[in-house]
């Protein structure tokens, strides 16, 4: 039970930090980052304790840590929320723990803690630097104007991520998911005074939101079908899975399980930036350079993969290692396509962070494709290794940018883009720690054989695809791997090797330990994280270390997955693409000037890649503009303005017209006439009577006499008859 309490506590310190910073410590930078880092450290400690406890449980997959409380009352009783750590969430918790803590520490250095306040800095804009008091004429970096607020936002972000990881049900997972979406909006738009940052924040939020609403529908459908959202009740219950796989949905030919899986997967497509919802992630690089980029690389986008990993039993319901389910086929296709597609774009980017952004999209595609062909363990393994080495690369790129910014401050030429790799070169000697750690990360990303973690996880995916006869997926992924190695080496060569191409690069300098220490820590994992998952049948070194990862994670499934038999072909392919790509990248770029040698070689294809296949423009043209035109012209102006208001106004005019008709045709001629007639008759009678009315008493008496006499006469006549 005590472990369960620890799990409940994991997300809380960052939430507390968020409120503490915003409400109390906002004005004090040192206090704010202390609160933030302390919160991350406490969560880290709690997470590690839980992880250790999980390691100590035999057959952990069957004896998970879980506890729940009632939250939202619905038709069939309460929707309970709770926490659960099983093998899958344990390993995700492990890498989230480390990466989050490293970001927090790194942020202190990145936001120039300890530096003076800038002379012209405004909240909402990146700091411009300050005059150095000791060395007149020199400019030094200045501290971020919204330093404390930054820590509040990433603390809230960490809360969202931890909530997602420890959730035992889809609803709270979704809560964490949305909190992160919101934080990503806040962090991408952190420098909100830059219009590009505002647009990017909006785009990110909107694009992921489209995925989210479909995911919400998937949740709704799942609840409607099963009456629960608890992972264990659905995913570890063969009966429920069987029922879902065999009941038809309202779309012909698709089972309920398939429909729900696809809806949920659309959520992942948004969150993990898969084609066709990939467009937001590269723009998200507008955020404070490495940190939000790192959030969008190692943690938040991993959440999308984590969700489909989590839902894998549902997605694969009815699969039984035979024909892929519809959802799996879709995932394999989208994943593989994205992996290659994004890798090609990455080849033609100049911005150091954008290369990494496209590389992230591509690697996430790898994981989706792996899951699509049923390589559950391999996908999860790649998720872990990727989180470490991509976090390392992003933080490294931030360090590079920061170093070049030093150079920019030195020369004072603010036209030089410190993120453009063609403005760099030769940074190896200026920034040795950044170089060596970046190299490790880059090699891991390329899948450099044996040593790096990326090799083991990528190789496992390729081997699995090959072994199960998914050759199309295998070839596409192998091509993507080749491109990955190529653009990674291109990046390393352009940035660190050769000679500095600009004065700014010449004056770049290494960063403070708050930034470099996290790089070193992460590079350890970028190498070692692979060693826990070496296949047992691998030649020579297989079996030296037990394939712990496979055994541990396999317990998260009802049916323990079997390991793939060793085959030389995928291994050779994976060696060739990794080494070939790296070599090619070095050869092409070792003497590059300020233009890309590929531009000449590829011609118009390069332009196409550079412009990301014009997807932004395409979406603008086929979705955004028509939607606006439709709502503006059709809905608002035509239907609301012309039809409905038109009818209304016509009805009003009609009523007025009717009134006029009544007045002129009926009120006047008929009613008034009748009334007048009555009046006239009365008048006539009056006139007649007036004759009688003379005012003389004797005359009246005469009339009376006449009447009396006439009456008498009448009476007489009657008697006589």
């Amino acid at each position: 039970m005590t472990t369960e309490i620890l799990i409940w506590l994991i997300p809380l310190p960052p939430l507390l930090a968020f409120f503490l910073i915003l409400l109390f410590t906002r004005r004090n930078n040192a206090l704010s980052h202390t609160v933030g880092v302390a919160a991350a450290a406490i969560s880290w400690l709690l997470g590690m304790l839980v992880f250790m406890a999980a390691l100590g449980v035999d057959h952990f997959g069957e004896h998970v840590f879980a506890s729940a409380i009632n939250w939202l009352p619905l038709a069939d009783g309460f929707l309970s929320i709770g926490v659960m750590i099983d093998p899958l969430s344990a390993i995700v918790l492990f890498f989230v723990n480390w990466t989050v803590l490293m970001i927090f520490i790194y942020s202190i250095g990145y936001h120039n803690f300890g530096q003076p306040k800038g002379d012209h800095d405004h909240p909402g804009l990146p700091p411009h630097g300050a005059k150095d008091a000791k060395h007149p004429g020199h400019t030094v970096p200045s501290v971020e104007p919204m330093y404390a607020r930054f820590f509040a936002f990433i603390a809230l972000f960490a809360f969202g991520m931890y909530t997602l990881v420890v959730s035992d049900n889809l609803l709270t997972l979704f809560v964490g998911w949305e909190i992160m979406g919101l934080c990503s909006y806040l962090l991408i738009g952190f420098w909100y005074a830059k219009p590009s940052a505002r647009d990017a924040a909006m785009k990110a939020f909107m694009t992921t939101r489209i995925g989210d609403v479909f995911m919400l529908l998937g949740i709704v459908a799942l609840y409607a079908a099963t009456g629960t959202l608890n992972f264990r009740d659905i995913l570890y219950n063969a009966e429920v899975l069987d029922m879902l796989a065999h009941s038809p949905s309202f779309i012909g030919g698709l089972s309920l399980a398939g429909l729900i899986s696809i809806l949920l997967f659309i959520g992942t497509v948004g969150k993990s930036a898969q084609w066709p919802l990939h467009v937001w992630l590269p723009d998200a690089m507008e955020g404070p350079t490495p940190v939000s980029a790192m959030i969008h690389a190692a943690t938040m986008v991993s959440a999308g993969i984590y969700m489909v990993l989590r839902m894998f039993p549902l997605i694969s319901a009815g699969w039984h290692h035979g024909e892929l389910t519809t959802a799996m086929t879709i995932m394999a296709f989208i994943g593989a396509f994205t992996a290659l597609f994004a890798a090609t774009i990455a080849v033609a980017q100049r911005d150091i962070k954008r290369v990494l952004a496209y590389s992230t999209i591509s690697q996430l595609g790898y994981m989706i494709a792996a899951l699509g062909i049923g390589a559950y363990v391999a996908a999860a393994f790649h998720l872990v290794t990727h989180a470490f080495f991509k976090a390392l690369l992003f933080l490294g790129s931030g360090s590079v940018i920061h170093g070049v910014e030093h150079g920019v401050l030195h020369t004072g030429d603010h036209k030089v883009d410190p993120q453009d790799m063609f403005n760099m070169g030769g940074l190896k000697d200026k920034m040795p720690i950044t170089f060596w750690t970046f190299l490790i990360g880059g090699l891991a990303l390329s899948g450099f054989p044996l040593l790096t973690s990326g090799f083991w996880s990528k190789d496992e995916i390729l081997a699995d695809a090959f072994a199960h006869g998914h050759f199309a997926v295998f070839i596409v992924l192998a091509l993507a791997a080749l491109l990955t190695a190529f653009y990674t080496m291109r990046q390393i060569t352009l940035t660190f090797l050769g000679k500095p191409r600009t004065k700014e690069a010449e004056h770049a300098s290494e960063n403070v330990p708050a930034m470099t220490v996290p790089l070193v820590v992460l590079s350890v994992f970028a190498v070692a994280a692979g060693w826990v998952g070496i296949p047992e049948h691998f030649p020579l070194i297989g079996g030296l270390l037990p394939n712990w990862f496979h055994h541990f994670l396999g317990g998260a499934l009802l049916e323990h997955p079997s390991a793939v038999d060793f085959n030389w072909i995928p291994l050779i392919v994976s060696l060739v693409v990794a080494l070939g790509g790296l070599g090619l990248g070095y050869l092409v770029y070792r003497n590059a000037g300020q233009t890309d040698p590929l531009r000449k070689a590829l011609g118009p294809v390069y332009t196409l890649l550079e412009n990301k296949y014009y997807f932004d423009e395409l979406y603008q043209r086929i979705f955004v503009k028509p939607a606006q035109a439709f709502s503006e012209n059709f809905s608002y102006r035509f239907l609301d303005g012309v039809v409905i208001d038109g009818l209304l106004h016509r009805a009003a005019r009609g009523a007025m017209g009717l009134g006029l008709i009544f007045r002129n045709k009926f009120e006047g001629p008929v009613i008034d006439y009748a009334a007048d007639l009555l009046a006239r008759i009365t008048q006539a009678v009056g006139r007649l009577l007036r004759i009688l009315q003379t005012g003389q008493v004797q005359q009246y008496l005469l009339w009376v006499a006449l009447v009396v006499f006439g009456g008498f006469f009448y009476y007489l006549l009657n008697i006589l008859q």
Partner: protein
């Protein structure tokens, strides 16, 4: 513990306060304002007593009071609240209190303004607590009439007469149509009573119900803004002064939805079951269409006005599912949307009072100047987009659940698009107005909002967050009410 005469006090207090106000010296604005604030506060406290005094395990209707009115015709002054109306009573209390708080800047004929506002409040309370159909119509008209004066006299000069006329005509025509249906029920029942608790047991024939249900439902749903009778509402919002907009969107539109439920669905359940499939289509139009139009608006108030059309569509949609979760979600959505739009209009009013423009592109950078209002607006925005952790999610999630369970998955799929569109226009507005660049002509003219206004914003935000994080503050009550409705529908 149930305070005696509580509901009649709630209904009569505002109108009496309004009457007393008319005798205060017209020049003494402070006195009038303080009196209004005091009366609103007391009303608010009374509504709190209703909300927290309601026993979610007790009988369907509580706090019942019954006085003979016109016994010969079977008309009585019968009041009571169920689990659906009790939160709405509190909502009205909240909106009147916060509405008065932020009306400090009214300068023209202050006395009459507040008097009419309070009469309006009495009408609204009356509809929510009336158990007698005649009383319900009576209060309904009381609620509509001051609206006309408030908009026509204190509204935005350019459109106020048109808007006031449009609104009044729509609502009166709607209520007359509903009245025809109501009278049909009265005569057909043979019970010689307008008491709705008795009429609910009248067992009208299916043919009768099928014929009259559309009359009653649409007659009221006009005020709920159902497509294609929605179009008075945004115009009305724009023309109305801030507190009236808050009332209009926050409470008045719920009146329509609530009466459509109480008189339409609860008294003619078979008719409801027959007609719902096409009504749900209309509400789908509401939801999607309203959101798309809101996206194109550059006038802040029009944007919120059309977003209300969209969100009220969700309410009607939830009702139309006739499913447990759908009804629960719709009932919560009434409260959630009421608080949210009241907040939106309050903030927009605060901005307009200083900037004298509501054009979104002409505003900017207000986060630095009025951070509290900005954060409040963003919280309202998150509610509007159905973010988990806020009341909007607690409302919308069950509605979609209900749609799915009632076998309308396509409707659910199409209407979730509106949630994405909602995010688009809210974020666009937030991005421009609060984070964009402060236009030069506003420099130096804008100031932070007053502490009392912060209080109003704080109360509204608190409710939305409280429901979002701890739905149990409202759910048992609403479920209690919905169970009774479902019993009438013949379901479990």
């Amino acid at each position: 513990m149930q305070i005696p005469y509580l509901l009649s006090a709630i209904v009569l207090l505002p109108i009496l306060a309004g009457a007393v106000m008319l005798f205060l010296p017209p020049k003494n604005r402070d006195l009038i304002y303080r009196f209004a604030l005091g009366a609103a506060f007391v009303t608010f406290l009374l509504t709190l007593a209703v909300y927290f005094g309601f026993d979610a395990a007790g009988p369907q209707y509580q706090f019942i009071e019954d006085y003979a009115w016109l016994p010969a015709l079977g008309i009585s002054f019968k009041l009571g609240v169920d689990g659906i109306s009790a939160p709405l009573v509190l909502l009205t209390g909240v909106v009147i209190f916060t509405g008065v708080i932020i009306s400090q800047r009214i300068e023209d004929r202050v006395r009459e303004f507040f008097a009419f506002l309070f009469i309006l409040a009495s009408g609204v309370f009356g509809v929510f607590v009336a158990l007698d159909m005649f009383a319900l119509f009576f209060f309904y008209e009381i609620a509509v009439f001051p609206m006309y004066l408030l908009i026509a006299m204190w509204g935005w000069k350019q459109t106020r007469e048109y808007a006031a006329m449009k609104l009044t005509l729509y609502l009166f025509v709607g209520s007359v149509i509903a009245l025809v249906g109501a009278l049909a029920m009265y005569f057909a029942s043979g019970l010689n009573t307008f008491d709705m608790t008795l009429l609910a047991t009248a067992n009208f024939s299916p043919a009768f119900q099928n014929l009259w249900f559309p009359f009653v439902f649409f007659g009221f749903a006009v005020l709920g803004g159902i497509f294609p009778f929605h179009n008075w509402s945004p115009v009305g919002h724009v023309a109305a002064p801030t507190a009236v907009s808050m009332f209009h969107a926050g409470v008045l539109m719920k009146l329509g939805a609530f009466a459509a439920l109480r008189v339409g669905i609860m008294l003619l359940p078979i008719g409801a079951q027959t007609h719902m499939w096409w009504i749900i289509l209309l509400t789908l139009v509401n939801v999607v269409y309203g959101a798309f139009i809101a996206m194109t608006q550059t006038d802040f108030k029009y944007m919120i006005g059309y977003s209300s059309v969209s969100h009220m569509g969700l309410v009607a949609m939830g009702f139309a599912t006739l499913d447990y979760n759908g009804l629960v979600g719709a009932s919560v959505q009434m409260v959630s949307h009421g608080v949210m739009t009241a907040l939106f209009f309050a903030v927009v009013g605060m901005i307009y009072d200083q900037a004298h423009t509501r054009e979104i592109p002409k505003l900017g950078g207000l986060m630095k100047i009025m951070p509290f209002a900005g954060v409040g607006f963003i919280i309202g925005g998150l509610v509007s987009m159905g973010m988990p952790g806020f009341s909007g999610f607690i409302a919308e999630f069950p509605i979609f659940m209900g749609l799915w369970a009632a076998n309308y998955p396509w409707i659910a799929i199409i209407s979730v698009v509106s949630i994405a569109v909602t995010a688009a226009y809210i974020l666009r507005a937030v991005g421009q107005v609060f984070f964009g660049e402060l236009p030069a002509d506003l420099e130096g003219h804008m100031h932070d909002v007053k502490p009392s206004e912060k209080l109003a914003i704080g109360i509204l935000c608190f409710i939305m967050i409280a429901i979002g994080i701890y739905p149990n503050v409202i759910m048992p009550m609403v479920q209690h009410g919905v169970n009774a409705v479902l019993a009438l529908l013949g379901g479990a």
